[in-house]
Symmetry: D2
Subunit: 343 residues, 4 copies
C-alpha cells in the first residue's frame, strides 16, 4: 500500500472546492494531483486557488493516468455512476458524493463494477464523520443507553435550492432525506422493516409544479420493533437545522447545534444568540475528516466506514418512502431488495 495517495478530484463546484482545499493541504498522506471539470474555467480557477499542479476538462482522462491512485467524485449527480464504473475498471480507489445514482438500476451497476474490481468505494455521508454523531454512535455501541427504543431525526435547509437544482435533484427523499435514511440505519445499527411517509408542498409553488414535496414526516419501524421518525423541510425560517435524538432504556442522546458564535446578547427583550446557517459551517470538520478517513484507509487497508451498499440501502428507503407516499400506505423496503444475479 502507498504511503502517499495521489488523488484526482472530479468536479470543481461548491463541494468540489471544499474537497480541493482539504486535499491540497489538510491531509498529510494525500497529494492533490489533478482537478478535472467539464467546465474548464472552473478547473483552472480552482487549481490556482489551491496550488494544484494540473487540471483538465476531461474527467475520463484522469482515470487513464497510471499515477493517480484515487478519485474523489464531486461532479453532477448524473455523472456519479458512470464515473464509478470507469474508475473501478481503471482500478482506482473511489470517494463519491451521495448519491451513487438517482435510480437503483444505475446504483447496482456501479456496485457490481466496484465489487468486480475489488476497489474501495467510500460515500460522502458526512454526518458519519461529525464529532457529535461519532461520539453518539460510540456511546450507543458501548451500551451506554441500554436498549435503544426510538430515534428522532430532523433536517431543515435554511431555504430551498434554486429550481434548476430541484429539477434534477431526484426529489426530497432521494436528495435530502437520503442523509436521514443513512443516519437512522447507522445509529440504530439495524434495517428498516416498514416505512410510512406523509408529504406536502407548502414552502413554494415550485415543488407542486415539479410534483415534488418540501415538507415531510416519515415513520419507521426497525427490525427489532424499535421506532423512528424523520421530519424534513426545504425551508426552516431560521437557519440550518440538523438534530437527532436517540432514546434508550437507560437514557438518551440529543445531537444538535444551535448557536454559531459563542456569544449571548441580553437586553430588555430577553436573551439572544445567533444560529448556525449552513451545512458547510455545521459539518465543516466532518468534510475534512471524511477525506482523511478515505486516504488513511487506502494507506492502511481499513475498509470504508460507509460504502456503496450503505448508499444503496439509503436509496431503497427513499424508494420505499416514495411508494408509501404514492400509495398512502406503509411499505416494506424489502420490496426494493436486490435480486441475486440481477445486477
Amino acid at each position: 500500500m502507498p504511503d502517499q495517495v495521489r488523488v484526482a478530484l472530479i468536479g470543481a463546484g461548491r463541494i468540489g472546492q471544499r474537497h480541493a482545499a482539504t486535499l491540497a493541504s489538510a491531509i498529510p498522506g494525500a497529494e492533490l494531483a489533478v482537478i478535472a471539470d467539464v467546465h474548464g474555467p472552473s478547473a483552472t480557477t480552482l487549481v490556482d486557488k489551491v496550488r494544484c499542479p494540473r487540471w483538465t476538462d476531461d474527467p475520463r482522462a484522469v482515470l487513464e493516468d497510471a499515477n493517480i491512485d484515487a478519485i474523489v467524485i464531486a461532479s453532477s449527480t448524473d455523472s456519479h455512476a458512470p464515473l464509478i464504473v470507469a474508475a473501478a475498471e481503471a482500478g482506482k480507489q473511489i470517494f463519491c458524493e451521495k448519491p451513487i445514482a438517482l435510480d437503483l438500476e444505475a446504483t447496482d451497476r456501479a456496485l457490481d463494477a466496484v465489487e468486480r474490481a475489488g476497489v474501495r468505494l467510500q460515500m460522502g455521508f458526512q454526518r458519519r464523520f461529525d464529532k457529535a454523531y461519532h461520539a453518539a454512535k460510540e456511546l450507543i455501541d458501548a451500551g451506554a443507553l441500554g436498549h435503544i427504543e426510538a430515534i428522532r431525526d430532523t433536517m431543515r435547509d435554511p431555504s430551498p435550492a434554486p429550481r434548476a437544482y430541484l429539477e434534477t435533484s431526484g426529489g426530497l427523499y432521494r436528495d435530502m432525506t437520503i442523509h436521514n435514511f443513512d443516519c437512522v440505519r447507522w445509529m440504530m445499527g439495524q434495517e428498516v422493516n416498514q416505512i410510512f411517509a406523509m408529504g406536502s408542498a407548502l414552502v413554494s409553488p415550485v415543488f407542486r409544479e415539479l410534483r415534488d414535496i418540501d415538507t415531510s414526516v416519515i415513520s419507521l419501524r426497525f427490525s427489532d420493533d424499535s421506532l423512528g421518525v424523520i421530519d424534513n423541510s426545504r425551508r426552516s425560517g431560521f437557519g440550518y437545522d440538523v438534530r437527532t435524538e436517540i432514546f434508550g432504556s437507560e437514557g438518551a442522546l440529543m445531537i444538535g447545534y444551535s448557536r454559531d458564535t459563542p456569544m449571548l446578547r441580553l437586553d430588555a427583550n430577553g436573551i439572544h444568540s445567533d444560529h448556525i446557517h449552513w451545512f458547510l459551517e455545521r459539518f465543516d470538520q466532518a468534510y475534512i475528516d471524511e477525506l482523511k478517513v478515505f486516504v488513511d484507509g487506502i494507506i492502511d487497508g481499513t475498509p470504508p466506514p460507509v460504502d456503496g451498499y450503505d448508499a444503496r440501502a439509503a436509496m431503497v428507503l427513499a424508494y420505499a418512502a416514495e411508494a408509501s407516499l404514492r400509495e398512502n400506505a406503509p411499505v416494506s423496503p424489502s420490496r426494493f431488495a436486490r435480486t441475486v444475479g440481477e445486477g
Copy 2:
C-alpha cells in the same frame, strides 16, 4: 354571577390533593366547601391537611347540596362521565380531569347532559395553562411564525405506571397521547385529516400482556396539509420529557424544559445539570392556573378555553390512532365523527 364560588372536590387521590391545595388557598374567588371520596379516610386526611370544613364518602351527596356552585372531578376515570351527567343535571359548573370517559359513547352522553343543562365543562388539559405553551400559542396566533407547516410533539414518562393503573388506563393513546392530541389540535388551530400510528411494546412485558403498547410514533396530516408527528414512551430513562416544536415559514418555537435546579456542575468529565423529574413539577403552576381560569370563568362568564368538545376531539384521535395501529393503514378521524342525533 357569584363573586365567590363554593367548590366541591370529588376525589382525594394524587391529583385531587394537588387541586385541594390550590382551591383551599391559591384562588381568591374560590371556597373549598367539601371534599368527597368514596374512600372516606382519604377524604378525612385531606380535609385536615387543607383545612376544608367538610368531607363525605358519598360524591353524589355533594351534588344535591344547593350551596355548592361547582365541582372539580378528580376521581377515577370510570366515574367521570356519570358524575358529569349528574352534576350537569344538578346545575353545577364542572371541571373534570381528562378524559371524560374511555369510550366515545359515554363521552357523548356526558356532552349531551352538559349541553342540555347549559352548564360549563372545563377539561383538565393542563398544558393549555402552561406559561410556555400559552406564550407559544399567542405568538402563533399573532402570526409571528408566518404560515405554520409542521409540529413535533414528544412526551415520555420517567417510568411506567403500576400494572393496576395500566389495566384500566385505556391504553397508551387514550391515557397518555391524549395530551398530545389535544396539544397539536390547539397549537395548530386545525383538525387532523389523517393519522398513521406505529406502536411497539419494548419497555416492559406488562404492556405486551395487556395488549397495550409503550412506545409509539404517530404521523398526522392537518386539514391544510401541514404535517405533524407525536412520539411517546412510557419510560424515558432520564426524567419527564415534554417538548413541542412548531415550525413556520418565518421561524420556529421550541417549547421544553430540561434543567430543574438552575445550577451547572463542571468537572473533568464535562458539564452536568439535573433534569426535571415529574409532570407535577413541570406543570406545577399550570395546575393552579387551570383552576383559576375555571373559577374566574364562573364569576365573569368567560367560556372555558378547553371544553368537552375538545376532549371528545382528542379521544377521536386516540380512536383513529388505535384503528391505524390495528389496520396498519392511515385512518381518517372523520370515521369517528358524531352523527347528529346519535347522542
Copy 3:
C-alpha cells in the same frame, strides 16, 4: 414545643404580602393569626385577601398577645431593631427581613436582647433557601469540588428603586450587596480577612446626589487565602441578574438563571428567549421555604440556619467595603468586630 405556630405578621407592604400568602396557606404548622401595619388600610386589605381573622395598626399590640408564638417582621427597616428588642422581651420567636438595622450599634442592641431572651432570630436572606444555592452548598460541604479557591458573585437589579427608597436604604452595600456578603460567607464557610471596594455612580444622577454609588466591584480575601469578587449594579438593562460561581480544585459550580419561560423562539435573526425579571420570580419558592424552615424550627427545635450573627457579619462587610471605598485602600473587617461588653 407547639405543633401549631400562631404567627403575627408585621408589615403589609410588598414583601409582607408575599409572606402573608405563605403563612395563610402554604405551611401546615403555621397559623396566620394577625396582621399589623401602622397604615391600617394596608392591614385590612391584606387580611381580606388572605382571610386572616384579625388586623391591627399597632404592631406593639401583637407582642402583648399571649396567643402569639412568633412574629414575622416585614415592616420598614428602621422599625426592625426596636421590634426585635420588644419581641425578644415578650418571648416571641422572630423572623426578620434583612437588615436588623442600618448601623451596627442598633444591630448589637437587638442581638443582645435576643440572646438575653433566648428566643430564636432567623434572618430573611432568602438565597440560603433557594434550591440551587442549597444544592451548591451541599456539594461544596460534601467535598465535590475539592478545595475551594475562588467565588464570583454577581447581582444586578433590573432598574434602580425610587429615590424615596434609596434615601433611606443605607446605600448600595448595606442595602443590596448585603445579600452577596451573606452569600459568600455562607458558600465559602469562612470569614473575610480583607476587602477592597471600587464604586461609581454611573446609572443615574440620583446616586451622585445621595453620595451613593450604583456600580461596584469588590475583591475579597478569605481566611485561608482563597479569593472572591462581588460585582453589583442598580440597573442591569436586561432583567434580574443573580449568578454565583464557585471554583474548586476538582471542578466548579455555576448557579444562575436566565430563561423565565421554557420556550425558545428561532427566526432569521437567531435564537431568542425571555429573561427572568424580578427577584420575587427568581426566589419565589425560597420565600416560601424560608418561612417553612422558620416555623418547622420552632416546632422541632432546629436552630435557624441564618441568624442575627450572620446578619451582623454581613453588615460588618458592608462597613468594611464602605471604609475601603472612602480610604481607597484594602480594609480588614476585623476593624468592626464587636468588643466584648460593648453591646
Copy 4:
C-alpha cells in the same frame, strides 16, 4: 505592495506548528518560504509536515534573506525583542507572539526599532480575532449596549504548565493575565486609571516556591469611572475557561464557550455534556484569522488591529498589578508610563 507575501516562521514549537499549518495552506496571499528553529530537528520535522521548501537553525539568517517579506515570531519569549529589533532593521514586516518582552525596557527598545524602521508589528493576542469577541466589540462600538458600565473577564487554564515553563514565564500577570489586560482595554475602548490586585498560591506548592501566584482577582477602574474585574487561575478543574461579560445601560453581552461536541447525554443523573479543553480548540479559527489579517494587511496596507503599543499597554497593567500586589494598595498604571525620549 506585494500580492504574495513570503513569510519566514521562527520557532517550531507548539504554537509555531499551529502557525506553520496556517501559513502553508490556509492563506491565499501567503507563501511559507522557510522555517527557522535553533533546534534544527524541530525545524526539519515541521518543514516535512507542512511541505515547506526550506529550513534553518539560524533564525538570524532568514532576516538577511531579501526574498523574505515578513517574519512570524513564535520562538521563546526571551528571543522576541531581539528578533523584533533585528527584523525591523532588516525591513521585515513582523508578527510576534505575546509578549514583546517580559520587561518594559526591552519592550520599549523593540517599539523604537519598529517605529524607526516604519515596519508593521502585529501582536498575537488571538482573542481579538475570535468571532465572538469580534462580534461583541462591533456591537459595543455600534452602541447596542448603550453606555458601558462594567466588564467581567475570566480565564482559567485546565491545569498548570510545567515548572520549567513557569520559571521563565514572567509570572501570572505577565504570562496569563496579559491576555485579559489586552482584552479589557480593547473591549472598553479606554485606559485603566487604577488597579487593585489580590493573589494567592493555592493550586500547587510550585507557585509559592517560585514566589508566583496561581489564583488572582483584580479590580479595575477605567478612565470614565466604569469598573472591571479580572479573575484568573492556573487550574480550572474542568477544562479551559475563558468568558467575558460586558454590561451597559441597555443590555449585556456574555462571551463564552462551554460545550465542545454538540451533544447532550441524558440519564438518571441528569443532563451531561463535554466541555472545551484547551485554548487551541477554543481559539482554533482565531489563530488562523490573525495571520490572515497580518498577511492581508501587508498586501493592502491596513494597519495591524493590535500592535506593539497595545502589547506595551497590557504589560504596563501587569506591572501595575504586581505593584498593587506587592504594596497591597491600589496603583495607577500611569506610574509605568513611558517618558518621552526614554526608549
